[in-house]
C-alpha cells in the first residue's frame, strides 16, 4: 500500500536523502519522484529521520587522543641479521638431527650385536674346525649375521702387501660350515691356502686399515 514497485529506485532513496548520488543517478531518481507519490513520501520520511537523529553529542577529540595507546613503530629488519639467525637455526637443527640419528643407530647396533653374538660364536667354532690359517673375524657394526665378514688374513700379518697381487681378501659367508657341502668346503680351504701362499712385503707406511676387534671363539 505504501511501497513502490520499483525496487531499484527505493534502494537509492537513502543515498538520495544523504546527497551522495552522482549527477546522472540523482537525475534518474528525481525523474521517478516526479511521478511516484510513494517514493516521494518515503524520501520525505527519510529526510525527517536524518533530521531527528542529526544531533551529535559533543566529544572532546583531544581528550580521546590523549587516552589512546602510543604507537610503537615495528623494528625494521636489517639485511644482515636475518641470514645469521637462519644459519644459526640451521646449525642447531642439524646438530639435533645428528645427535638423534646417531643415538638411534648406536642403540640399533647394540641391540643387533647382542642378538648376533651367539650365532657368531657358533660360526667361529665351526671355522676353527675347518681353518688352516687363523682367520680374523670382523664384525661390522650394525650389520646382520649375513654381513659379518671373515677377513681370512692371518693375525700375524700386520703389514700391507704393496707389490704382490692380493688374493681375494674377503670371503663372506653366513653361519657355520656345518651346512656346507664338501665341495664348498674345498673351495673355501683352497682360497685360504692361496692366501697363505701369497707373499707379504713389509710396508714402510703404517697400515691404514683400522684395527678391528677380534671375536674370540671360546676355544683355547
Amino acid at each position: 500500500m505504501f511501497d513502490c514497485a520499483d525496487v531499484e529506485m527505493r534502494e537509492l532513496l537513502p543515498d538520495m536523502a544523504a546527497g551522495s548520488l552522482d549527477d546522472a543517478t540523482r537525475a534518474r531518481v528525481e525523474q521517478h519522484l516526479a511521478s511516484c507519490a510513494e517514493c516521494a513520501s518515503e524520501l520525505e520520511t527519510l529526510h525527517l529521520v536524518r533530521s531527528a537523529y542529526a544531533t551529535t553529542p559533543r566529544v572532546d577529540v583531544q581528550r580521546i587522543v590523549a587516552a589512546l595507546p602510543k604507537a610503537v613503530p615495528l623494528p625494521e629488519r636489517t639485511h644482515g641479521a636475518q641470514p645469521v639467525k637462519r644459519w644459526i637455526d640451521w646449525r642447531v637443527a642439524a646438530a639435533l638431527t645428528m645427535i638423534s640419528v646417531g643415538g638411534f643407530s648406536l642403540a640399533v647396533a647394540r641391540h643387533q650385536s647382542n642378538e648376533t653374538r651367539p650365532r657368531d660364536s657358533a660360526a667361529a667354532v665351526a671355522s676353527v674346525d675347518t681353518q688352516r690359517a687363523r682367520p680374523v673375524k670382523t664384525a661390522v657394526s650394525g650389520g646382520s649375521p649375513s654381513s659379518i665378514h671373515d677377513t681370512t688374513r692371518p693375525v700375524a700379518r700386520s703389514g700391507r702387501a704393496a707389490s704382490a697381487p692380493q688374493p681375494k681378501a674377503q670371503l663372506a659367508f653366513a653361519g657355520g660350515t656345518d651346512d656346507m657341502d664338501d665341495a664348498s668346503i674345498k673351495v673355501l680351504l683352497g682360497a685360504l691356502d692361496e692366501m697363505d701362499r701369497a707373499p707379504v712385503a713389509p710396508s714402510a707406511e703404517p697400515d691404514p686399515t683400522p684395527v678391528l676387534p677380534v671375536i674370540k671363539t671360546g676355544q683355547p
Binding site: 537513502p14 551522495s20 513520501s41 529521520v49 542529526a54 551529535t56 566529544v59 580521546i64 587516552a67 595507546p69
Partner: protein, 187 residues
C-alpha cells in the same frame, strides 16, 4: 532542526589507511585526524543505539580499543565500519552489565517508549518527535540497520558487518523498518 553534527572533517586529506600508516610510524597527529574524522558519526551511532549518557566515554573507549589493535586491522572493511562494530559491541556489553547490576532495567524493545520520553525533551519539532517515536518502536536490530543505512549512509554489506548479519538480512531489516515507520506515521 538543522543538523548539528560537528563533522569537522580534519584538514588532513589523507585516507584512513594513510593516516593509520602514519600513526604506526609514530605520527601522533595522524591519530588526531582519525579521531576528529570519525568521532561525530560514532557519537551519533551511540545515541541511536540508546546511549543517553557517557556518549563521550563510549566513543573514547571505542577509539582506545580500536587503536590498541590497529596493527591487526587488515582493511577488509572500512575503518568507519570497523569502528561502528567495536562501538556496538561495547554498548551491548555495557548494557548487559548495567542490566545485571540493576536487575530490572531493559533497554530493549519494551522500553522504547521510555527512551523516547527522555528524548522528547530534546526534540522540539513535532514531526521529528513523531518520526523518532516511530523509530524507537522498532526492534533493536531493525533500528540499528535502519539508522546505519539512513543516517550514516552505510551499504547493506557494511551494515551486515557491523551487526553480524548477512547482506540480504540487512536489506530485509531495512525495508521492514521503513514500512513500520511509515505505518506508524501515516496510518
Amino acid at each position: 532542526m538543522t543538523r548539528m553534527a560537528q563533522d569537522h572533517e580534519p584538514n588532513d586529506d589523507s585516507t584512513d589507511l594513510e593516516l593509520i600508516a602514519r600513526w604506526k610510524a609514530g605520527d601522533e597527529r595522524a591519530a588526531t585526524s582519525l579521531v576528529a574524522r570519525h568521532s561525530p558519526a560514532l557519537a551519533r551511532f551511540a545515541v541511536s543505539l540508546g546511549q543517553r549518557t557517557d556518549v563521550d566515554e563510549v566513543v573514547q573507549d571505542t577509539f582506545v580499543r580500536a587503536f590498541g589493535s590497529l596493527h591487526s586491522f587488515r582493511a577488509d572493511s572500512s575503518l568507519r565500519t570497523w569502528l561502528f562494530t567495536i562501538e556496538r559491541r561495547l554498548i551491548l556489553d555495557r548494557r548487559r552489565s548495567e542490566r545485571r547490576r540493576r536487575d530490572d532495567t531493559s533497554v530493549d524493545d519494551a522500553d522504547a517508549a521510555t527512551e523516547f520520553d527522555a528524548l522528547d525533551e530534546i526534540v522540539a519539532d513535532e514531526a521529528e518527535s513523531r518520526v523518532k517515536k516511530a523509530v524507537e518502536q522498532l526492534s533493536r536490530l531493525q533500528k540499528e540497520v535502519f539508522l546505519l543505512r539512513v543516517n550514516e549512509g552505510l551499504s547493506y554489506k557494511e551494515i551486515a558487518e557491523v551487526v553480524g548479519s548477512t547482506e540480504g538480512a540487512a536489506r530485509v531489516h531495512y525495508h521492514n523498518a521503513m514500512r513500520a515507520v511509515k505505518e506508524s506515521l501515516y496510518v
